[in-house]
């Protein structure tokens, strides 16, 4: 079982690298300065490339029912499970902290639309924040080595073996979703989950939407543990759970004015309940 998983992981990595190279080649050919426009590129057997129309692409995303999640009071559990599974170190220092998913208050999550006079209940809510897996991710555009790249299913992923630690992605990310390992992260891990790689010092990391679980047909950990308050699905599929939730609720996203196309939506009013 363990061995199988390892095989799968290495397979996955190879496919990722291939995808990265294809994107690089495609971008060079098209002469575009933005590597994340257009559809995915498939390599054909004869070596030629076919760019598939964008409409077919998948974009995984989340819809988070914030009041319900707060009511359940399970966010800390979710965060700990995510960080434990992915071997996210706890450095004990806010300046060097590594975070994949965490909680912020409304004013910090949505500073542009926050007002002085806010509903007290909303003021007290904790908003889960994480990588937004942007449709047009500025971190992917800025990365000089394709260490961070957009998968065909819309997940903004990372190759920890290619990252040079230039932190361009951190400067480019308007969501503060990326963390650098300012020293050896393994020293901060009490227990290591052998199913997920640990990182080395000097590389950037972030939430990868549990792509390794998605590839096995499973749901990301946060959504799986959320008792239905973090809805996961394909934003481009009108019949998906996320699209249903978006249809039934008023939702907001972080910093939409920047045009990055965040894939994480927040229900603030509590929805149909």
């Amino acid at each position: 079982m363990q061995k199988d998983m390892k095989n799968q992981n290495s397979m996955e990595r190879r496919t990722f690298l291939k995808a990265g190279a294809a994107v690089a080649a495609g971008a060079a050919v098209a002469g575009t300065l933005s590597g994340c426009h257009g559809g995915p590129i498939t390599n054909k057997a004869d070596g030629s490339e076919v760019v598939e129309p964008k409409a077919k692409t998948r974009q995984w995303g989340f819809v988070i029912d914030v009041p319900k999640l707060n009511e359940l009071g399970i966010f800390e559990e979710i965060k700990e499970a995510c960080h434990a599974y992915h071997n996210v170190p706890d450095t004990g220092n806010p300046k060097t902290a590594v975070k994949w998913i965490w909680e912020e208050e409304y004013h910090k999550t949505f500073p542009e639309i926050a007002s002085e006079y806010l509903n007290e209940e909303i003021e007290e809510l904790g908003f889960p924040v994480l990588c937004n897996h942007c449709a047009d991710a500025p971190c992917v555009r800025g990365c000089p080595t394709e260490a961070t790249f957009k998968r065909e299913d819309g997940i903004v992923s990372m190759d920890y073996h290619r990252c040079i630690g230039c932190r361009f992605c951190m400067a480019a990310c308007p969501f503060g979703a990326r963390s650098l390992n300012f020293s050896d992260p393994r020293e901060f891990l009490d227990e290591v989950n052998p199913e997920f790689p640990t990182r080395s010092k000097g590389v950037v990391e972030k939430c990868m939407m549990c792509s390794e679980l998605i590839d096995k047909g499973e749901t990301p950990i946060c959504a799986a543990m959320s008792q239905g308050t973090i809805i996961f699905g394909d934003l481009n599929d009108p019949s998906s759970d996320v699209r249903k939730a978006l249809n039934e609720n008023f939702t907001i996203r972080r910093r939409v004015e920047l045009g990055t196309g965040p894939s994480v939506y927040y229900i603030v009013d509590g929805g149909e309940a």
Partner: protein, 403 residues
């Protein structure tokens, strides 16, 4: 020609020894950082670029400023710069070496630096910056070395050298433009996201760069056989003056746009720099010092009597240089991270180890500059004159020759 750097007086060797000590300190500090990680700097997940990248930005400017000598000479045949141009080119070489070392020091995983070449990414500005910086470095080494070699033998430099010199002019503009693009295209960093970032970079570079060049030439006039002419000094000082006026003007434009529009995200970084934000105000004294220095420097340069006074001029130039350094080498990068994505103000205080690395890298720059200038001065002494100087021009004209 390198052997010429091995001959020198006591003062020369003392200077080299001091530089080597600082280089040693820098290397030791870097080894610390290499072993521990970037946790040995003041950077954080919120202020993820610090003094390394701001020094990089500043030094790219110093490198680009070589064109302020090259343009008058190569495009307008302003022969007064004939002798000084080689020093401008060598200063560019040393400055790029320093800039590249700062990028290397800034990497979290420096042993993977060649991934930038192995996986070229045309959508990343850093890739283009690498391309133009390495081309500019190569071009300047080639021109400087060939011209000097020709001068030593008393022959005219080959024609391709002149072509390269002309190519180096747009290349110089490109290195600082692309460096501005590194930060000017990031969504959500409002302090950096301004269309005049590149012009601001160029203006401040063309003020600070020639300012150093004049001061260094005046030092060489005192301690070496290379005697820069007063005419060359005054012409360059005028360049510094005009560029600094443009630099200050551009900065005031930023202030107008931010404060007249009254958009909070555009004002925040400027308020942080000049008044402090959320009680964090460690950059405020620096910024006001820069304001005073900029205006004192400009005043001294604008009044011809002051500018032509060789005792006042260095003071004016140092004022301008420091003002540019505080603006670009300190405030620009740090304030770009204020406030962060969550409207928080996170301060950055450099780590002593980081400061040692910075001192070491600058010492390497001065070391490269010293060696190159020593060789250039020695060739200038002994070389059989292929001379751009006015004296030579006059002699030619007297002899009825053409040039």
């Amino acid at each position: 020609m390198l052997e010429k750097a091995l001959k020198g007086g006591k003062l020369y060797w003392a200077w080299v020894a001091i530089l080597l000590v600082f280089i040693g300190i820098g290397i030791a500090a870097y080894i610390n950082q290499f072993n521990y990680g970037l946790g040995l700097t003041g950077m954080s997940r919120d202020v993820n670029w610090g003094l390394y990248i701001s020094q990089f930005t500043f030094m790219v400017g110093i490198a680009a400023s070589g064109v302020m000598v090259a343009i008058p000479l190569y495009l307008h045949n302003f022969r007064t710069y004939g002798k000084i141009v080689i020093f401008g080119e060598f200063m560019a070489v040393a400055a790029i070496v320093v800039a590249l070392l700062f990028v290397l020091a800034d990497l979290g995983y420096p042993t993977r630096v060649f991934n930038v070449i192995l996986y070229p990414s045309p959508h990343a500005m850093l890739f283009w910056d690498m391309c133009v910086l390495s081309s500019y470095l190569l071009v300047n080494i080639l021109i400087g070395w060939t011209v000097l070699g020709a001068e030593r033998k008393g022959v005219k430099a080959p024609k391709w050298c002149r072509i390269l010199a002309i190519i180096s002019i747009p290349l110089a503009f490109s290195i600082h433009t692309v460096t501005a693009f590194l930060i000017a295209g990031l969504p959500g960093r409002y302090f950096w996201m301004t269309a005049i970032m590149a012009p601001r970079f160029l203006a401040s570079a063309f003020a600070a760069g020639p300012a150093v060049l004049i001061v260094v030439c005046m030092i060489m006039r005192r301690f070496s056989t290379f005697k820069v002419t007063d005419k060359a000094i005054d012409a360059l000082a005028k360049t510094v003056c005009y560029a600094m006026i443009a630099n200050v003007f551009f900065f005031l434009l930023e202030i107008f746009t931010a404060f007249y529009s009254n958009v909070p995200s555009h004002k925040a970084s400027l308020i942080y720099l000049f008044a402090g934000l959320d009680g964090e105000n460690q950059l405020v004294p620096f910024m006001w010092t820069a304001v005073v220095l900029a205006f004192v420097g400009l005043f001294l340069l604008l009044v011809p009597k002051m500018r032509k006074n060789l005792k006042v001029l260095p003071v004016a130039l140092i004022c301008v240089f420091l003002a540019c350094w505080i603006d670009k080498g300190l405030g620009l990068i740090l304030a770009g991270y204020v406030p962060n994505s969550f409207e928080e103000v996170i301060n950055y205080i450099p780590n002593p180890n980081e400061i040692c690395v910075i001192i070491g890298i600058y010492a390497i720059g001065f070391f490269v500059l010293t060696i190159l200038y020593k060789i250039a001065v020695a060739v200038n002494e002994t070389g059989i004159a292929f001379d751009h100087s006015e004296e030579y021009e006059r002699k030619l004209e007297e002899a009825g020759g053409e040039h």
